[in-house]
């Protein structure tokens, strides 16, 4: 091996750790990866200190795979730091790409969240009503913790991102492909989404599909869908038609409709608006009252359509007004 190994950083922002686990899920292919890559920084797996990173020269890392959304000042600080230290910055996974599940926090205000987490939840006993403060004075001095932001942001809404690998988590098979591409120098154009198709899930979906028509909507947990037939034709909202393929149809294969974690298609500006347009166009009624009755079958449209993509969506967050 004449070529030097790629210096790789892996970091997690606001995320669950699933993306980190996905690296391990590549199983024996990890052997191929370590042929070309050397992990320099991966706090989820090994103990690293930020000052190690701070000590790197700028552009020292060949590539950083950043998973997780930007939710607090620490996420942002490290994202900026890694951007400086990395030649290529990859938004890795749905949270970095679109906000992901942590992005659902954008349906609430920071105040709501603190109230729920620290004051009101049934399992909380907090008689002094203490909620986290960025700075707390104690006899020994001032304690500082990262500041929780009002809005969850995507990585690209925070720093300059070179590539995006979508998915919650990304299909492990794609990881080796991405690193292989970087090692071989065959880089796609900046801004590209890699490790996913430019076509929607329906491209890969094996289910039978004939004609769309919604007389009523069904919720998945209240029904037993036929595993052979398109969910939509069974009245179950599936985001597959508005979502990039590439995941290996894991949900659909488990008889669950697509949740949209691979995000919008190349020309789409707002994934939720597009699935909305697609399904509403096929409501089988021209009577406004009946349309409303049929729509009652989708009790939480925003939550359903923006399950993974609220911070990336046009509106970015629930508007709180003067609340």
């Amino acid at each position: 091996m004449s070529q030097a190994k790629l210096k790789v950083g892996v970091y997690w922002g606001a995320s669950c750790g699933g993306c980190d686990v996905a690296f391990l899920d590549i199983h024996e292919k990890i052997l191929d990866v370590i042929q070309v890559a050397e992990v320099k920084f991966w706090p989820c797996a090994m103990d690293f200190k930020y000052k190690d990173v701070e000590g790197y020269p700028d552009g020292y890392l060949d590539i950083t795979l950043f998973n997780g959304a930007i939710r607090n000042s620490e996420n942002e600080h490290v994202a900026r730091l890694l951007r400086k230290k990395s030649k290529l910055m990859v938004a890795f996974g749905a949270c970095a790409h679109m906000g992901g599940i942590p992005g659902l926090a954008n349906f609430w205000s920071k105040k709501d969240i603190f109230a729920s987490a620290y004051l009101e939840s049934p399992s909380t006993e907090n008689l002094q009503k203490i909620v986290p403060q960025v700075e707390t004075k104690v006899p020994e001095g001032t304690l500082k913790i990262p500041e929780l932001y009002e809005n969850v942001r995507t990585l690209a809404q925070t720093i300059d991102v070179d590539y995006t690998v979508p998915g919650c988590p990304p299909n492990p098979e794609q990881i080796a492909i991405v690193l292989g591409a970087v090692a071989s120098g065959k880089l796609p154009a900046k801004g590209a989404v890699v490790g996913a198709s430019d076509k929607a899930m329906c491209e890969d979906c094996p289910r039978k599909k004939k004609e769309l028509k919604f007389k009523k909507f069904q919720r998945r947990h209240l029904t037993h869908p036929d595993p052979e037939i398109c969910f939509m034709e069974q009245g179950i909202v599936c985001l597959g038609a508005a979502t990039r393929a590439g995941c290996g149809w894991r949900c659909i294969g488990s008889n669950m409709p697509c949740r949209g974690c691979y995000g919008p298609l190349p020309n789409v500006t707002d994934q939720g608006a597009k699935i909305l347009a697609a399904i509403a166009s096929h409501i089988d009624s021209e009577d406004p009252e009946e349309v409303e009755r049929i729509l009652d079958g989708i009790p939480d449209p925003a939550g359903y359509f923006y399950r993974f993509g609220l911070p990336l969506s046009l509106l970015h967050r629930r508007h709180l007004g003067d609340r």
């Binding site: 929607a200 020309n267 597009k274 697609a278």
Partner: protein, 665 residues
């Protein structure tokens, strides 16, 4: 910015410049990225205005042009053509509507100028995203459909047929002729309607280029300009017209009768009948609701007497399909039912007649052979003609029916002529005698001793009713029970009159046909607030509609007299002809297009297209839009969850840019 955009702010005389500070708008436009020059001009649509734009395109190599002027529905084509002549693709022109939707509707110069700036900003940003497009050309089928065989339709059909166009003339009734065939004399010349109409009817019936389909209705229209596919229901008439010689023996022998529609129910006709003697085609049909054989299986007298063996009781409705390049709608009007104004007594008092009833009563070929008499056979000694029955009336129709004043004068003249002793009253709001020779006719009638009362006939009472209702002192002297009392305010004398008469003639308003709404939808022709078909432009495109290739003529567009109706029939024919003689037509390039590399075959678009222009390739699992069928509505584009369908000229990026521009200030 790769774009060199020219912005032209039109003064439109003072139409725009009087309310919008055009110089300020032009200065503002100069500051928008991409704009290389920005000018104002007095009339952009004028020749020098267009020349200015063309010179700039040639000299400065403009990439796109924004014209801030009147509505794009007005002059988009003008500026597109100008651009094209100067070598710029016509789709690189964008119009900002700062007249109809800005200067004319906004109060305050400041507000109007601000709005105009926003509209210009949007147009410039949109123009930056425009792509050159090529118009598509399709061949035009050199044939026409004319719907409605009244005088408008007959005129249109004859003009087209004389020019060599194959015409299909569809008429819902058993004969062509329409309302005009019912009339005796026509105003103001008093020439006989039959004498001038019958030759035209015969010509239409025998013209080698006209295929006449009477007793038929258009059921479905598909396709588009140049190639409309029309399904026509040929209603069963139970007489094989190919065999029928028109001898009329069957009619003579038929023992069953029904009210004659043509005679307004004032006379009977047979179950096998011609609506009137001069009917075209001059061959009968059988009324299945009156025919004993079709109702009960007994009779067959007509079969017995028909030597040609033309009676065919097995006949069924059948649907014929024709392809035509263009369509003329001439479906006419209907007269308002007088019963809708109960205070005028129509339908309740036998002495009250509708105008069409009076036409038949007066017609030499009518139920009384032209003798004007009441239902009980008396010659009226006094007749009141009430104008504006349901017209110019807030409770019914706000519009003027345009012909009633004139035919009311005609009735008065005919009454004076036939019954010189009778008193004839005209109760009117205003006399509207605007046509050629009309005012002269009015003057003549005034000299003939007709009594004109300026006041609307408000109520009509039966003589007996009146006596029972009012004190004896208020009963006109000698009022008989069978007579009528017309109550009206003479607005010149400012006095309420109670006028005893023997006969009252109403002048019911022209109304759109009962099924105008349905017909409008079938032909994609919009209707105005009055319910009549809407012309594309009230002055400059009076017989065109927003559905290209479909023209309207006659009273289906609004009330009109025979000269105007005939003129429109010819106008529609000439528009249709000018379309057909082009042989090819350019149709919008702004269609939808499936980007194969983005289509996942999700089938969301399938079933959304009203024109079935989207097909699904099962083998490749991809959707595709058929360019020739797509009309560019964009419904599939909005629904495509992958944004894989591109709307040419109305793409996401173009509209996003427009939104950004509109909200940029």
């Amino acid at each position: 910015m790769p774009y060199k955009i020219g912005v032209y702010v039109c003064h439109c005389g003072t139409n725009i410049a009087g309310m919008v500070n055009v110089e300020e708008v032009a200065d503002f436009a100069r500051g928008i990225p991409g704009v290389t020059l920005s000018r104002t001009y007095k009339f952009m649509c004028s020749d020098p205005g267009q020349a200015l734009l063309q010179e700039d395109i040639r000299k400065n190599g403009l990439d796109a042009v924004v014209v801030a002027a009147c509505s794009p529905l007005m002059h988009e084509r003008t500026f597109r053509r100008a651009a094209q002549e100067a070598g710029l693709n016509p789709f690189l022109v964008q119009i900002a509507n700062i007249r109809e939707q800005c200067s004319w509707v906004t109060e305050g110069k400041g507000a109007a100028t601000e709005k105009a700036k926003a509209l210009v900003a949007a147009a410039v940003r949109r123009a930056r995203e425009h792509q050159p497009l090529e118009m598509r050309r399709v061949e035009i089928t050199p044939s026409a459909l004319v719907v409605g065989g009244g005088i408008a339709g007959i005129q249109a059909a004859l003009d087209l047929a004389d020019a060599g166009v194959q015409v299909v003339l569809v008429e819902r009734e058993p004969s062509i002729g329409g309302h005009m065939a019912m009339f005796d004399k026509t105003f103001p010349t008093l020439d006989c309607a039959a004498c001038i109409l019958t030759p035209k009817m015969v010509a239409a019936g025998s013209h080698p280029n006209i295929k006449l389909m009477t007793w038929s209705e258009v059921e479905e229209v598909s396709g588009f300009v140049g190639n409309f596919k029309v399904k026509i229901r040929r209603k069963a008439g139970y007489v094989d017209h190919d065999k029928c010689t028109g001898c009329g023996l069957c009619i003579e022998k038929c023992p069953y009768k029904a009210d004659s529609e043509f005679e307004q129910g004032l006379a009977k006709r047979k179950a096998i009948y011609l609506p009137f003697a001069q009917a075209v085609p001059n061959k009968p049909i059988i009324d299945k609701n009156a025919c004993a054989y079709l109702k009960n299986g007994k009779c067959r007298v007509c079969v017995k007497f028909c030597e040609a063996a033309a009676i065919d009781f097995t006949q069924q409705d059948r649907v014929e399909e024709v392809t035509v390049g263009t369509i003329v709608l001439a479906t006419g009007f209907q007269a308002m039912d007088g019963r809708r104004i109960p205070e005028l007594g129509y339908g309740r008092l036998p002495g009250v007649y509708s105008a069409l009833e009076f036409e038949r009563l007066n017609n030499a070929a009518g139920p009384t052979n032209g003798v004007i008499q009441t239902r009980d056979g008396r010659a009226p000694r006094s007749v009141a003609i009430l104008h504006c029955t349901g017209s110019r009336d807030e409770n019914h129709h706000r519009y003027c029916s345009r012909v009633c004043c004139m035919y009311a004068l005609k009735y008065a003249h005919l009454l004076r002529e036939k019954l010189p002793e009778a008193r004839v009253y005209n109760f009117y709001i205003d006399m509207r005698c605007f046509g050629k020779g009309y005012e002269e006719f009015y003057k003549r009638l005034q000299e003939e001793g007709v009594r004109f009362v300026r006041g609307k006939g408000a109520q009509v009472w039966g003589g007996a009713e009146w006596k029972a209702m009012v004190p004896a002192a208020a009963v006109p002297e000698g009022l008989e029970d069978h007579q009528l009392v017309v109550v009206a305010e003479d607005s010149l004398l400012q006095q309420v009159l109670h006028v005893p008469v023997d006969m009252v003639v109403l002048t019911p308003a022209f109304e759109p046909r009962f099924d105008a709404e349905e017909v409008g939808r079938r032909f994609l022709v919009s209707r105005g607030a009055d319910g009549f078909f809407l012309e594309q432009h009230p002055k400059l495109a009076p017989v065109s509609t927003t559905n290209e290739g479909v023209f309207i003529a006659g009273a289906c567009q609004g009330p009109k007299d025979i000269p105007d109706t005939v003129a429109q029939g010819s106008a529609a024919a000439s528009k249709a002809l000018s379309l057909i003689t082009r042989k090819e037509i350019e149709i919008e390039a702004t269609t939808a297009h499936v980007q194969d590399e983005l289509c996942s075959g999700c089938r969301t678009c399938i079933g959304l297209c009203p024109y079935n222009a989207i097909t699904f390739d099962e083998a490749r699992k991809r959707a595709a839009v058929n360019d020739a069928l797509c009309k560019g509505c964009g419904t599939c584009v909005a629904a495509c969850p992958s944004s894989a369908i591109l709307a040419r000229h109305f793409g996401d990026r173009q509209i996003f840019s427009e939104i950004e521009g509109l909200l940029s200030l």
